[in-house]
């Protein structure tokens, strides 16, 4: 099983959710994060001074899937989260050693179905 961890723009969440549901993946975990990369954060004007934040708002979407589904999920996320402009985000893929479903104690692949 792999964990696919995508950093996306906040306004793209619904699109990504929709794309995954279409492929019949319903599980995901979402975290509010702030990110920095080529893109910088927002610029504010307060009482005549300008400030640029180094970090901008992003969401981290984590989806755990069986090894075989990795490519199709990455594809779906890339397509649905893309705007083509700097700051679209990254996807990190990690191999998992195990997965457990707390409700039942099931382990491994069974716990994801």
């Amino acid at each position: 099983m792999v964990k696919i961890e995508a950093i996306i723009r906040p306004q793209k969440l619904e699109a990504v959710q929709a794309a995954l549901e279409e492929l019949d993946f319903h599980g995901m975990t979402v975290t509010e994060v702030r990110g920095m990369g080529r893109q910088r954060g927002a610029t504010y004007t307060y009482r005549g001074s300008q400030y640029t934040l180094s970090l901008g708002s992003k969401l981290k979407v984590e989806v755990v899937v069986l090894d075989g589904a990795q490519e199709e999920v990455i594809d779906a996320i890339v397509k649905s989260a893309q705007t083509g402009e700097v700051g679209d985000g990254k996807i990190f893929v990690t191999q998992l050693a195990d997965v457990v479903r707390i409700r039942t104690g099931e382990r491994g692949e069974a716990s994801l179905s």
Binding site: Y44, T45, R47, G48, T52
Partner: protein, 425 residues
């Protein structure tokens, strides 16, 4: 129980007093006949409105600091409601408004709450003296709270408490005496300050400057990180409460229900509005778009500048004063980075500059048509002389507040072993 026991002697003393010494005797429960029930009703409410400004200020300032400092910033305002009420009743009022012959400081006849509930005092003839004392108490509460904007996010709480308490007694009360006491020297010179442009705003603005200099910069600023307001809706809401309360502040300064009170209300409302628009227009021209913080800052700037003028000026000049304050203060706050002091929430740029501007423009626009009784004598030597008197009073009071504040802070620093809070606090 314990309290009861402790209190027994006090009560006995009071029973004795009942028999023997009706000092501030409010006697049979009726007002003396100069007192008007409508005027008194209005002034109770005006006092309440001014009291409401302090929570409003807590919101206004609290929204502008970082999240971790909201509570300490709120407390800076609220604690003044506690300390100043008591200090004012005990000694502040009598220093400011006790009878004075020298024009510098009141006598101590009205100390310890000795102010009658049923007869008027020297300053306000149609309401009971104790009500005037309460009304002025609310002014005394918010003035030191205003200073807190300059020292937000870094002053030690104990140092803040000592500094503001001493400042109240040593700076605010005497200045109020000079300007508002019927025998105060600035008052007799003919300087006009209807509701406290000089006494409240310029004095607190200059104290803020002293504090900003003595305290140094906030750590993050030294490291060049931006310090962003955590909640501008709070600041706007605070601005709204300040506006609402300020009507009590300015129109109430007529201490009566009369045409002067109504004109004070009109000028206040219009100057706040014009200040908001002035600041936002300046932003639009300088930076391409107006901001919500600009709206809140501008309305306060307008209110500050109209404070000394309201009750002396008609609607159009009142509007102009607000507009001028919105524009000028919005430039003034940009200067602080040039001068290198960290006046965190721009007390100097808004209250100092706005208060000074208002004092001068009061001289320019004060009209006998609006307030004959006060403006006619002040204009005896012509408008030029009036403007000079305004300038003089502002400079003397500003300089006094600045110098005295430096001194008080230096002494406080010794007592509290440093003025700055540690990271933890």
């Amino acid at each position: 129980m314990i309290a009861g026991i402790l209190a027994a002697p006090l009560a006995l003393a009071q029973d004795a007093a009942t028999a023997a010494a009706p000092v501030a005797a409010p006697a049979p429960g009726a007002f003396s006949k100069e007192i008007d029930s409508g005027a008194t009703a209005w002034m109770i409410v005006a006092s309440v409105l001014v009291l409401l400004m302090t929570p409003g200020l807590a919101l206004f300032y609290g929204g502008m600091v970082r999240r971790k400092n909201v509570l300490s910033t709120f407390l800076h305002s609220f604690i003044m409601m506690g300390i100043v009420s008591i200090v004012w009743m005990l000694v502040g009022y009598t220093i400011a408004f006790g009878h004075t012959d020298n024009g510098w400081i009141g006598d101590f006849k009205n100390a310890l709450g000795h102010v009658p509930f049923n007869t008027p005092g020297e300053e306000a003839s149609r309401i009971p003296a104790a009500l005037y004392m309460l009304y002025q108490m609310m002014f005394a509460i918010i003035t030191p709270a205003l200073i807190s904007g300059a020292l937000a996010e870094r002053m030690k709480f104990s140092a803040y408490v000592i500094f503001t308490t001493v400042w109240l007694v040593v700076v605010y009360c005497p200045v109020a005496c000079w300007v508002w006491n019927s025998n105060g020297w600035a008052n007799k010179m003919g300087a006009l300050d209807f509701a406290g442009g000089t006494v409240v705003h310029l004095a607190s603005g200059m104290a803020a400057l002293a504090a900003a200099i003595m305290l140094g910069k906030r750590k993050s600023l030294v490291q060049k990180e931006p310090i962003l307001p955590h909640s501008l809706p709070l600041t706007l809401l605070g601005g709204g409460l300040l506006w609402v309360g300020w009507i009590g502040f300015n129109a109430g300064s007529a201490t009566d229900v009369n045409p002067v009170a109504i004109s004070g209300f009109a000028a206040t409302q219009l100057a706040a509005a014009a200040g908001m628009l002035g600041w936002m227009l300046t932003e639009k021209l300088r930076f391409g778009k107006p901001t919500a913080l600009g709206a809140a800052s501008g309305l306060v700037a307008g209110l500050v500048a109209i404070t000394p003028a309201s009750g002396y000026v008609d609607m159009l000049p009142g509007t102009f004063i607000g507009l001028a304050a919105g524009v000028i203060c919005s430039f003034a706050v940009s200067l602080k980075s040039k001068f290198g002091f960290d006046d965190a929430l721009d007390v100097v740029g808004v209250h100092g500059v706005g208060g000074f501007l208002g004092a001068i423009l009061t001289g320019v626009f004060a009209s006998v048509l609006i307030n004959h009784d006060a403006v006619e004598p002040a204009m005896k030597a012509g408008r030029g002389a009036l403007i000079m008197h305004q300038f003089l009073a502002a400079v003397v009071i500003g300089a006094f507040s600045f110098a005295a504040s430096l001194l008080i802070l230096a002494i406080t620093k010794l007592i509290t072993k440093g003025l700055r809070a540690t990271e933890e606090e």
